[in-house]
């Protein structure tokens, strides 16, 4: 049996280059009377990969949705790359520009071709000329290994291909951080691998990432830190190895025994 140690709930020990990219301090989030996040403190370092796990309803999606203001946090502060999130729309847009997001249900724009899906934001937000934006988009499609799909529409592609386009779309803005919100949960088993491989490539290239996922294999391979959440709180923090071999908290053990 595992030896007992003090449970580490401190998610502020950054890895990566040591430079703090995301800094969440004493953050609370309510939905009406329900407190979805309770006093969250978390830091993510540059080039660090943090995997957030936890049962559904534990607030892990809400946490990353607060980081790019898809949800408004109620107390505490969130600072992304030195910019604090407030009600100031300019600050919000500055943070969103530098923060890519990949959704569980892809959320590609069905009325636009793959190429237009990828080039829309760079052209519209960064005012990049069309030709240049399309050249970048083609490079990104090469990187996610589907350059032949550029002219197609999302509805004509498989789920795995769509999610890879969504990753390419978020990369097109040259973000400093990418937030992954259960990117493989809506995929058929045989397509999960192609998306995870793309994410692994990104991690190897030094992208700062927060991934909400249940893919423990992925966590083991690329995560610098794993954060376990339950009931809106950070319950346990550690390396992937720690979670595989020596989880301390009762809820962590229960959760891991269910998904492993």
């Amino acid at each position: 049996m595992s030896e007992t140690q003090a449970i580490n709930t401190d998610a502020t020990q950054v890895g990566g280059t040591g430079k703090v990219m995301i800094d969440v301090v004493n953050m609370d989030k309510f939905f009406g009377d329900f407190q979805a996040l309770k006093n969250i403190n978390m830091k993510v370092g540059e080039q660090e990969v943090v995997v957030v796990i936890g049962p559904s309803g534990s607030g892990k999606s809400t946490l990353i949705r607060c980081i790019n203001r898809l949800e408004r946090h109620d107390r505490g502060s969130i600072v992304v790359d030195g910019v604090e999130l407030s009600d100031d729309i300019k600050a919000i847009q500055n943070i969103r520009r530098e923060t890519g997001m990949v959704f569980q249900s892809f959320n590609l724009f069905p009325h636009l071709s793959v190429l237009d899906n990828i080039t829309l934001a760079p052209r519209n937000v960064r005012n990049i000329p069309k030709a240049e934006a399309e050249a970048t988009a083609m490079e990104l499609l090469e990187r996610v290994k589907i350059p032949d799909q550029a002219r197609k529409f999302p509805g004509q592609m498989s789920g795995g291909q769509q999610q890879r386009v969504a990753i390419a779309r978020s990369l097109a803005m040259k973000p400093k951080v990418i937030l992954f919100d259960e990117p493989t949960s809506a995929l058929d088993p045989e397509m999960i691998k192609e998306v995870l491989d793309t994410m692994k490539d990104l991690a190897t290239e030094g992208m700062t990432m927060i991934c909400v996922t249940h893919e423990m294999g992925f966590a083991r391979e690329v995560a610098d830190r794993v954060v376990f959440m339950a009931d809106g709180e950070i319950v346990e923090v550690g390396t992937p190895e720690h979670f595989f071999t020596n989880p301390q908290e009762e809820r962590t053990r229960l959760f891991l025994s269910q998904i492993l």
Partner: protein, 481 residues
Amino acid sequence: MAERAATYLGDDITAALAVDSTPPSSKLSPGDWAKTNLFSSAANTIVTAIVAVAAGLLAFFALRWIINADFAIIRANLRIFMIGQFPREELWRPWASGYVMILGAGLTAGAMARNSHELALSQELESVKEGWGQLLRRFWPIIAASIFFVSFARTVMPYIGLAAAYVLVVVAREVGWRLPAAIRERALFIGVALFIVAMLVIAGTSRLGGYALGLVAFLWALSELSRVESLPTGFAGTAVRFVVALVVAAIVAIVQNLIPHDGFGWEDWGGLHISLFTTVIGITLGMPFGILLALGRKSNLPVLKTASVIFIEFIRGVPLISLLLFSNLMLPLFLPIDFERPADLTLAIIVVTGFSAAYIAEIVRGGLQAVPKGQTEAAQASGMSAAAVQRFIVLPQALRAVIPAMVGQFIALFKDTSLLSIIGLLEFLRVSDTSNAQQEFVGKGLASVTYLFVAIGYWAFAYTMSKESRRLEAKLGVGHR
């Protein structure tokens, strides 16, 4: 030798597979079809028999009525049915205007068909140029109705005129198809500009036409400038764009005003012409206005929101007739005394535009709600501004989703133009009454003849709109969802 043998073997295998993969034929002989569909059970047989007898009786009475009917009233009033009391010596105007409009429609349709053809090819989708047979099938109600109308003409001119119109539309469409890509991309501007020119030809007024042409020039210049990438970005670039576009618009409007217009406005317009004209204007002006109202209603700004809600709910809460009467009888009482009273048709167009805008706004609002939240979130997450999210992500999908409801509204609007008679405009349906009041026809009970004639006119256009909407839906559905 060996290679050839292998090829033969390959062919054999392909052939064998091909035979296996053909689905079993589901074609029935006419006799079997009738048996399975019309006489499959006792109940089915009874229904078939009853409907057949009813249809036979209906056909018999209709035929007897048509054989005995006197169509002289249509022959005598054909011109009034088409264009109302338009001065006889100015008849060249409607014809010329019609040809300009047909030229614009043909060019634009050809160019846009080619554009979507090229787009489909670039996506490696199957696409073939639409043949004349297909076009005939698409527009047969209007083609049949136009031939039916002309068949009542007493001179040969209308026949020649109509034939020329069909030749022109064929030629214009072919030319539009063959235009260079750079011009084809701007086809919509050409089409709208030619539409306004057509209006100028028939009405000849310069001031309003100048504004309208200026507006088209403004939008065109703006879209040209948005392609120029060397301009500075941000506020400075936007300002330069707007100023240049405004200058272009002003030049166009002034040049247009320099051309002498010996027109007479639209006081004398009438017949099918104003029914169609008010519909087209009501749709083209009501659409942008309605979309703005829908966005206003969803806005976070209380003033904008309240104003939109009040406008929409007020217009939707009262009958169109009351609005028309109000504009015609009451509005002049509120205007300053030295204010020149606008023409009846001007007031009617304002009312019809506002009316359709209110209904379109509610339809669009439904569409906006149908766009999944994830779409907005994905666009927001990439840093796009709220306006850009609406413009590029939400609205295109919302409008696509509401095409059927929208076309339903257009058809209703087209039929509602018959209410313009209430304020004294001689629209299509009212000609039926006025011609029956003529000395030579009064008391002869010919209303049924004229009503049938009018009904065919309404039906031809309304049915074509409905067919086109279904076609558009099917087309937009391909490869998008």
